[in-house]
């Protein structure tokens, strides 16, 4: 059994090459469309001529979600090493201590979570 990460490099190489090859193949096989308007049509706007650019300022709530994700994901990552080593600590008799520590951590997490809810960060409807 291999336990290293190098096989994934090979896996990635083969997968990427396969996908790139298929994309290349389609450009060779597909019918040629020399008409420029046909090859580069306007973006679909439900049949209305496109106006302006789609990329613009976006609703700030999506960014708040991203920020909250980063906060909680980093904290969730802290839980992983704790979970892995919990059984070892339990074997050495330190189980209760480790459990209490994680309880404190979770409580702090919950305090932050409730603060977030109180602040209305999760309020999806417009307050107005």
């Amino acid at each position: 059994m291999i336990t290293g990460y190098w096989p994934y490099l090979i896996h990635f190489g083969i997968a990427a090459a396969f996908v790139a090859f298929l994309l290349f193949l389609t450009t060779k096989i597909k019918p040629a469309n020399s008409d420029k308007a046909e090859k580069y049509p306007d973006t679909f706007e439900c049949g209305v001529p496109r106006k302006g650019d789609a990329r613009g300022m976006f609703n700030v709530r999506f960014y708040i979600v991203a920020v909250m994700f980063i906060i909680f994901d980093v904290e969730a990552v802290f839980l992983f090493p704790w979970a892995v080593s919990f059984l070892d600590y339990k074997a050495t008799g330190l189980g209760l201590f480790i459990l209490a520590e994680m309880t404190v951590f979770l409580i702090i997490l919950f305090i932050g979570y409730f603060y977030m809810i109180r602040k209305g960060a999760l309020q999806w409807e417009d307050p107005e």
Binding site: Y5, H11, I29, K39, F58, F69, V77, L96
Partner: protein, 352 residues
């Protein structure tokens, strides 16, 4: 040592086999979905290409290849081409960490050829296999986000931003729902997780049972599947982030979605339903080692198949959530619930 006895050669062989299986599986999942959907909707579904429509994926593939290629005029062409590649490559990469078989002791003759004593259909088994799965699967967000951004279409952009917010929200509860299992196993590697469940699946332990439901809901949301398929909500955003895609680029998105579903089904079977392990009373009844392996692997695939069917079953039975409801469920129900379950699991493991 001959060239065919090296590790690299066997890695390449395994990768080739795995890629072939996953691509075929993804393609046939599309057929299965359509047939099952037709069954739920009291119609026939695709049944013309080959017996029972079995050649339909092939016909679809040919059609996709022969489609004329179009690029939106104001799109970012490089990113436009890159997005389906990212989606597909990440979902192809996911199968690298899944142990499809237990370690099989090879007979004498085979040992001489392969040069190794045992065989396992798994590209590699790193000691953080679970983390590898989550890391790679969260890369899939980029495919969707880049697709929406590069096509410069308002619906696509909105859909991709939605999908991104949705996927990262549910990734939290997905990650947290694994922690009870890691607590009980004390390891992040998938092989050990499976072996620990030999006589009792994690589903039948208290924290595992609670975490299973969080996990189940989260994988539906992770894979943008009904009732959480807001990224492809037809009645609001046309078809979402791949509105501008056609031909094989669209096929890549579609097949990667189905490959992800298969991967998540396998993962659910591994994490909660014991993978290919057979309980002692069954394995002692089967004397032949090879029969044991076959029964185990068959059961494993059967468990995964249940989830594969569940995805389709749920999709055609429920309407989709509204976006604010979706975020409410993710942040106000799933996240605190999964944190509480982590706490319960800690106490459970401590008391055991």
């Amino acid at each position: 040592m001959a060239w065919y006895q090296t590790e690299i050669f066997w890695v390449i062989v395994k990768v080739a086999v795995i890629l072939f299986v996953i691509l075929t599986g993804g393609a046939y999942y599309t057929l299965a979905e359509r047939r099952w959907a037709a069954f739920f909707q009291m119609r026939l579904g695709p049944n013309r290409a080959g017996f029972w429509g079995l050649l339909q994926p092939l016909a679809d593939g040919i059609k996709f290849i022969l489609k004329m290629e179009t690029f939106p005029r104001n799109a970012d062409l490089f990113l436009f081409m890159l997005a389906p590649v990212i989606s597909t490559v990440t979902s192809l990469m996911l199968w690298g960490a899944i142990p499809f078989t237990p370690i099989i002791e090879l007979p004498e003759a085979a040992q001489k050829i392969t040069g190794s004593k045992s065989f396992i259909l798994q590209v590699s088994n790193p000691n953080a296999g679970v983390l590898y799965m989550f890391a790679v699967s969260s890369l899939a967000v980029y495919g969707i986000l880049i697709a929406g951004w590069s096509s410069n279409n308002k619906y696509s952009l909105l859909a991709s931003v939605r999908a991104t917010a949705q996927m990262i929200s549910y990734e939290l509860s997905l990650g947290l729902s694994i922690i009870p299992i890691i607590l009980m196993t004390g390891s992040l590697d998938l092989y050990t997780i499976i072996e620990t469940q030999k006589n009792s699946w994690f589903l039948f332990t208290l924290p595992g049972f609670l975490a299973f439901w969080i996990f189940l809901v989260s994988i539906f949301a992770e894979s943008n599947r009904m009732p959480f398929d807001l990224a492809e909500a037809e009645s609001e955003l046309i078809v979402g982030y791949h509105t501008e895609y056609g031909g094989f680029k669209f096929a890549f998105f579609m097949i990667s979605e189905y490959m992800n579903l298969i991967t998540l089904s396998l993962l659910a079977a591994i994490l909660f339903l014991g993978g290919w392990t057979l309980p002692d009373f069954i394995s002692s009844a089967i004397s032949n080692v090879w029969l044991q392996h076959a029964a185990g692997i068959g059961l494993f695939l059967l468990k995964a198949f249940f989830f594969v069917f569940l995805f389709v079953w749920v999709r055609w039975s429920v309407p989709r959530f509204r976006y604010d409801q979706l975020m409410d469920i993710g942040w106000k129900v799933m996240l605190p619930a999964s944190l509480v379950i982590v706490f319960i699991a800690g106490i459970y493991v401590y008391l055991k």
